[in-house]
Structure formats: C-alpha cells, structure tokens
C-alpha cells in the first residue's frame, strides 16, 4: 500500500473538511450570481475569530460561533459593496482578501503578541458506535471530529435547501436570470445578501476547523490558499453539491498525499502505479463519454501517461523530490482539472453580473 494507507485516507478526510465547508458556502453565493473571490479572506477571518473566541470564552463551541460571526462580518462588507453599492464583485473580493490578511495579522499581534504561543484545547475525535468498527472505512470516515460530521450534515442540508425549498428555488433563479426572479416577485438584492451571509458563516466555520478544531492555534495567513482551492472546487464540481463533495475529496486527498510524500526519502513505487492507473482510467473515461469525437491526441497522451507510470513502477527508481515541490500538488491537480473542464456550460448564467431593474427588464 505504501503511502496509500489508512492513515493517508484518514488525513484526506480531515483535510477535506475545511475545503468542503468553504466550497459549499461559496456555492450559495455563486448560485445566486455573486462570485465571491473574498472566500479566502472569510476563511482567515473565521480562523482568527474562532481562536480569539475560544481564548476569550474558554469554550470551543463558542469559538466556532465566533469564527462564523467573523466570516459573516466580512461577508457583510462584500454584500454591501458588491450588491447594494453595485461595485465590481471581483475587485471587492480581492480587496477583502487583503483586508482580512492585514486585519487578522494586526489583531493577532495586538492581542497575543507578547503572550507567547497559546495552544487551546482541540476538538477530540468522536467514534460513531458500530459504524466506526467497520474495517478501514470505519477508521477513515467514522472516527473524525464532530466538525467533520457537522460538515456532512451541512452538505446534505444544502442540497435540500437548494432543490427542495422555495428559498433555494428563488436563489437559483436569481443566479440564472435575475430579471425573471424579480418579475416573479423575488427581492433580488435581498436574496443575494442572504446567500452571501450564508457563505460568510460557512467560510468562517471552515476557518475555525483550521485553527481551533485541528491545531488549537492561530498562525498568520493560515488559510494558505484554501479559499482559492475551494473556489476551484466549486467550478470543478460544476456548481452542484454532490460534485463539490467529489472535487473536495480529490483536492483534500491530494493534500494528504503530498503531506505524506514530503516525509518519504524518495518517490515510492506505488505513486508511479497510481499515475499509471490514473492515465488508464482517464483514457477509458474519455472513450466511453464521447466515443465518436474522442480526440486521438488526448487518448494517446493518457495512454502514454499510463505506460510511463507502469514502467516506472517496474523500475522503481529512487528519485527524490524537494518537499517544497510536493506542496504544490493540490494546486497542480486543480489546474489540470480546470483545464480539462474548459468551456463547460454549467456556470450560473448571471454569475458576477450586477442586476439593475431599469436596465434588465
């Protein structure tokens, strides 16, 4: 099994949690037509807010609430500027990321600067009776922290809210054709505000899982690009809850794998085999999906990848990689996935488009 053992899978599930929370949160905004690039900043605010909250109150759950509140606070600025004042969503989002970085760094130094590192109590794992006793799966999926279980519950609720409630129906319409929603009597600006607030809360919770749930610590810029990975996961998951779950697990898995590989002296042979299998699976998928139009070069390249993987597995060379390079693995996976989906039509039609009644009706 090499690096593909139960420990890596458990870590993958653990690392997926903040990503999934943030991506599901972002889904609300984007389905309502708001491209919230400030997600990274909201996660960071959540991470700090939660740490501060737990330190102040001494209660981890109150810390989680404080994290969500911090995310909502930043989201309110996003909504105010981009929905009410109709400023460009992307510009505002980028600005908020910088604001959040500055604000958290400054506050952290102000409050904790001369106190030294304070490690707070982390959230313990809770083994779910019976289910956690299933071999492998039980350890990987059902021996996690309550934060992870909460995340799964939120994902399920998100699906229900989006597809089974009037609020969700209106939200999706607002993201597709706001003029249609407006003429049907839905307050477009209000619905977008609500969606961005939900995003802020979930992104804040995602930050909390980074700081207090996992480490009991806050570090400057500790979101470290996860907000952008989550933005990619939304696209990669084609703006659907289940797709996003898949995308987040792939990205979380890549993260867990790279952490594991950093510790290896050289690239384990299993990795080559994995690449080979990936190539084969990719070729098969391309062929079954569109047999007639499958490009020869795509299939050829994938089969070539498979051949290289299998050959290297057989040779088992002792190549080593600098650990810093492994760090880029989730981002490389993201790039490859996104370029594979170029030109996909699944995006909400009104994403990043302002709505003005006088102009659009």
């Amino acid at each position: 099994m090499g690096p593909f053992d139960q420990a890596t899978f458990s870590a993958a599930v653990l690392l997926t949690t903040p990503l999934l929370l943030a991506a599901i949160g972002e889904l609300f905004s984007e389905r309502a037509g708001v491209l919230n690039v400030g997600l990274e900043g909201m996660i960071l605010m959540g991470a700090f807010g939660a740490y501060w909250g737990q330190w102040w109150t001494g209660n981890l759950w109150l810390g989680m609430v404080a994290g969500a509140a911090a995310g909502v606070a930043l989201a309110a600025v996003m909504a105010l500027l981009s929905i009410t004042a109709q400023a460009d969503q992307i510009v505002v989002g980028v600005g908020l990321n910088l604001l959040a970085l500055g604000l958290t760094t400054f506050s952290f130094r102000e409050v904790f600067g001369d106190r030294g590192e304070i490690v707070l109590d982390r959230m313990g794992t809770v083994r779910i009776p019976l289910l956690s006793r299933v071999p492998f799966v039980g350890e990987v999926l059902f021996s996690q922290t309550p934060a992870t279980y909460l995340t799964w519950a939120i994902v399920a609720m998100t699906w229900f809210v989006l597809y089974r409630t009037t609020w969700g129906l209106g939200l999706r319409a607002v993201g597709e054709l706001p003029a249609a929603a407006d003429t049907a009597g839905i307050n477009v600006a209000l619905r977008r505000w609500q969606a961005v607030m939900v995003t802020g809360a979930l992104a804040g919770l995602a930050g909390a899982t980074l700081s207090i749930v996992r480490l009991g610590l806050f570090q400057e810029n500790m979101s470290a690009g996860r907000g952008f990975l989550a933005l990619a996961a939304v696209i990669f998951g084609r703006w659907k809850p289940l797709g996003i779950v898949g995308a987040c697990f792939v990205l979380g898995g890549a993260d867990a794998l790279q952490l594991r590989l950093q510790a290896e002296p050289y690239v384990p042979a299993e990795v080559w085999l994995f690449i080979g299998l990936l190539g084969l699976a990719g070729a098969a998928w391309t062929l079954t999906r569109s047999r007639r139009r499958a490009s020869v070069t795509t299939v050829g390249a994938l089969l070539g990848l498979a051949a290289i993987g299998v050959t290297l597995r057989a040779m088992a060379p002792t190549w080593s990689f600098p650990p810093q390079l492994w760090l880029t693995l989730p981002f490389v996976v993201t790039l490859v996935a996104l370029s594979g989906l170029a030109g996909s039509q699944a995006a909400p039609a009104a994403i990043a488009v302002q709505y003005r009644r006088e102009r659009d009706v």
């Binding site: 129906l169 249609a180 929603a181 049907a184």
Partner: protein, 505 residues
C-alpha cells in the same frame, strides 16, 4: 359597476421625452383590449407602469374601483395584474414547474413542493389545451410553448388582468392561431387581457376594443367591430398608410451571390442545413419562407461569416468567398440579423456609437486610427432624420430606445450605404405599420438600383409582396424554389408545413 382597471391622467417623463402624456384608459373584466401605436408611442411604458416596473410621475390607477399605487411586480401580482414581457422572463435551465413555482406561495413553506406545482400546471394546461409537460426544461421548448409557460405562470398566481406586450412578434402563424384560441378562452373565463401588437389584422380579429396611442397621448378608444385597418392606421400615424406594395417587373441582371451545395453540421453530426443552392441576381429579391427554427438563422450566419459551412461553395460576383469572416462580408454586403440584441446592437453603447459601428474605422469617420466626432455627428443626425428614429438624443444608451426604434437603428446602419448585397432577416419585426411601409419602400428602391437582397421572413405577406423568387426552408432543406407569380398564401403555408414540391426556377 366600476371597470376592472381604470388608469386616469397617467404621465411619465424620461429625460428628453414624455413617454406617456395624460393617458386615461379602462379595461373591463372579460374584455380583450388592444393597445396600438407607433414605435416609441409609449405602449410598453404604460403597461410597465401597470406592472410596477416604472413609477408614473402623475396619475391614478384604480383596480375594482379602489385606488392603488403599484410599487413592484410582486405587488401587481397580488392585485391580480400579470404581465408577459416582450423578452420572456423564464429561466432556461429550469423546468416548467420550477419556473412556475418561482415566487409562488407554497402550500407548506419553506418546502417548494414542486410535485404539487407540476400537478397544478398539468391541470391548467389540460383545461386551456396548452400541451405543456411540467417536467421539461424551458430552454428546450419552442417560443410558442415558452409563451404558454409565461401565461401559466400568471394563471397559477390568480391573475385577473393579463398584459401581453407584443406576444406575437416571434410567433409563427400557427402559433398565433393557438394563442388566439387561448386568449379567447381566457376572456370567456372572465379574465381581462391587454394586448399590444402592431399587426392590425391581429388586433381586428381578437380585440373587443382598441386604444390608440401617439407620441404618448391617447388618440381614442374604438370598438373593433366598428373600425377597419385603414382608419386604425390613420389614427396611429396621423396620415394615410399605403398597406399594399407594388413591385414593378424587372429583369434580373448578373448574379451577385451564388450558393452551391451548402451543408452545415452541428456537433454530434446533427444536420442544420442540407444541400442549399440558390442564386441572387442584381435587382432581385429572393425570399426565404419557413417556420422559425428551420435553419434560417444558420443560413444567415453562414452567409455573414459567423459560421463556416461544412461543405459547399459561396461565390460573390464570380469570386469564391466560401470562407467568409464577418469582416470580409462587411466589405461585400450588409446584414440585418434576426436577433438584434445578440448580433446587431450593443445595448450599453449610445445610439451614435451603434450607428457607426460598422463604419467608424474607415474614411472619413476616422483618420489614421483617430475618430472624428464631428463627422459622426452629422452622419448620425442625417440618419435619424431619414429613418425617423425617435430618440431624445444621440447620446442615450441604446437600451433606452423602444423596441421598434432599436430595430430602426440597425436598418439605418445597414441600409444607408446602398450595399450591393443585403441580407435582411425579419427586418420588420416589432415595427409599426408606418415604419413597415418605409422599410418596404427602401427594399424596393434597393432592388430598383440593382442591389441583390436575401429576405428571410416568417411573415408570408411580406415575402409574397416583396420577393421575386421564394425558397421554402423546412428542416434545413429547400423543399421548393418558386417564381413569385401565382402562388397564394395557402400553397406557401402547405409547403412550409412540409409538403414537398421541387419546382425548377
């Protein structure tokens, strides 16, 4: 008893224009009330006021005798007023049921209970003979069916007064017949309908009364049974309108455009155009008749260089130009595309910029890459005059013009320079009778000067009165190519329906 709707003294000013001037207007329950008027007369503005989309400056609105101030579409719906827009307000990626459920009060909030809505849609669809499947995606429906979904939306909200703003502009004759039936049965069920249409025949055949607007003022309300086409047109325009056109015989000259064996395949090998061959000579108008969606749009797009044909050749004055680009086409001809919002105008730019969109980079409009605003101004001013475009100024955004005036901007830009070749797709869509008369005259003048014209239209009257030869397009193929001598509208209708008869021309 008070009428269902009474609007009194409604005035609405926009910067530079008065869209409605002291308009008074009443609608009774069970009545179909026609609204007529030139492009820019203020019809859309008046009904937008009624639907809470535009705030009037003055005037009062009474519904069932009670004075109301309609603040938003939601409020209008609560008062029983529903509106089908010129551009449909449907989310194409959602199903019929989802679109209907949008904004509808659910019987068990917060659940949307789509199954319940679907059942309601099915029931109403049954009652009025709509043939709508609630689970189909709206984007896959034809225009006529989408319109029914819009009407269903209003019915599900219990609308008592339905406003239809130019609902027939995009309908085929068959679809219009069906809509007519629908409107009748709704009126018989006691609903009131306000019906905006430029087509006098339609107004005469369905409306009980007609109110005519000109320049924002009411010219009068007449009972349809006591009037006729000519007098309605005179009320609208303020002069007599020539409703029939004379097409003097003319011997065609050298061929200008020759199309041979054109095929166009979409992805998945679906065939959009098959084996299209025709020639247009100097001084000739070739009409393409057919029900909307049978390849007209694709044919025009290939000819104007937006799509490349899979096989086949296109020749212009003897020179092969099969691989056209829009830029190259621009040098040999002009085009009035069917979908003006997507392909002909930029809604956010000013009227001036839209008028020079195709000329600004050549002399005398610009010199060495620097534009010359003064030349633009004089040029645009003369076009406004010549084409009777009603706009407060050249600097207003295109989006603020009425639908018909937007179309006139496109016509002016494309027709002013006497192109040798003109492709005109639905050139009179959304125009009032006066403007239609003007366009017909221009097209015939173009023919007289020896220009070649391809006229794509779903209006059979238009084709029959203008075209020298008529091709009938069905499912991307020509089923007939005939001299326009003694064909009548029935025959053409049959051919469009698919009865095939290949006649050499």
């Amino acid at each position: 008893m008070a009428p269902l709707l009474q609007m009194t003294g409604i005035t609405k000013r926009f910067p530079g224009v008065v869209a409605c001037r002291d308009v008074s207007f009443a609608v009774e329950a069970g009545e179909i009330h026609g609204l007529l008027g030139e492009n820019g007369a203020g019809k859309s503005t008046l009904v937008k006021i009624l639907y809470g989309l535009v705030d009037p400056d003055e005037g009062r609105i009474e519904i069932d005798g009670r004075e109301v101030r309609i603040r938003s579409p939601r409020h209008a719906l609560a008062l029983g007023v529903g509106m089908v827009h010129q551009h449909f307000m449907l989310v194409p990626t959602m199903t019929v049921a989802e679109n209907v459920a949008l904004g509808l009060r659910s019987d068990r909030p917060p659940l949307s209970r789509l199954r319940r809505v679907a059942a309601k849609v099915a029931e109403l669809s049954q009652r009025y003979g709509f043939h709508i499947d609630p689970d189909q995606q709206v984007g896959e429906l034809s225009v006529g069916l989408q319109q029914r979904v819009e009407i269903l939306k209003l019915l599900c909200r219990g609308a008592e007064l339905l406003v239809l703003d130019e609902p027939t502009a995009v309908l085929t004759p068959q679809e219009w017949q069906q809509l007519r039936g629908t409107m009748r049965s709704l009126a018989d069920a006691g609903k009131a309908i306000v019906f905006i249409s430029h087509k006098l025949d339609e107004q005469l055949s369905i409306s009980d009364r007609c109110t005519v607007l000109r320049d924002g003022s009411v010219m009068g309300t007449v009972a349809t049974a006591e009037t006729d086409k000519a007098s309605l047109a005179r009320m609208m325009v303020g002069r007599d309108v020539v409703l029939r056109t004379e097409r003097p015989p003319r011997a065609p000259g050298r061929p200008v455009l020759e199309v041979h064996g054109l095929h166009l395949n979409a992805a998945e090998d679906r065939c959009l155009l098959a084996d299209i061959s025709f020639t247009i000579a100097q001084g000739e108008i070739v009409g393409i008749a057919g029900v909307d969606g049978n390849g007209q749009r694709e044919l025009v797009e290939v000819l104007m260089g937006i799509r490349t044909a899979t096989t086949g050749t296109i020749r212009h004055e003897g020179e092969t130009v099969t691989r056209l680009t829009p830029r190259r086409y621009n040098r040999i001809g002009a085009v009035i595309p069917e979908d003006r919002h997507r392909m002909a105008i930029a809604l956010g730019l000013s009227v001036r910029e839209n008028l020079v969109l195709k000329d600004f980079c050549r002399q005398p409009f610009s010199h060495r890459g620097i534009t010359r605003p003064r030349v633009f101004r004089d040029f645009c001013a003369s076009l406004l005059q010549e084409f009777d475009i009603r706009t407060p100024s050249l600097d207003v955004a295109m989006r603020q013009l009425s639908g018909g005036n937007q179309q006139k901007v496109v016509l002016a830009r494309e027709m002013h320079r006497d192109p040798g070749l003109l492709i005109a797709a639905q050139p009179t869509r959304g125009l009032d009778v006066g403007a239609i008369e003007f366009v017909y005259r221009r097209l015939l003048e173009h023919r007289e000067r020896g220009g070649a014209t391809l006229l794509v239209s779903t209006e059979l009257d238009e084709i029959l009165s203008l075209a020298d030869r008529i091709a009938v397009l069905v499912s991307g193929r020509f089923v007939a190519l005939l001299e326009n001598r003694d064909i009548d509208i029935q025959e053409l209708g049959l051919l469009m329906g698919g009865a095939s008869e290949m006649v050499a021309s």
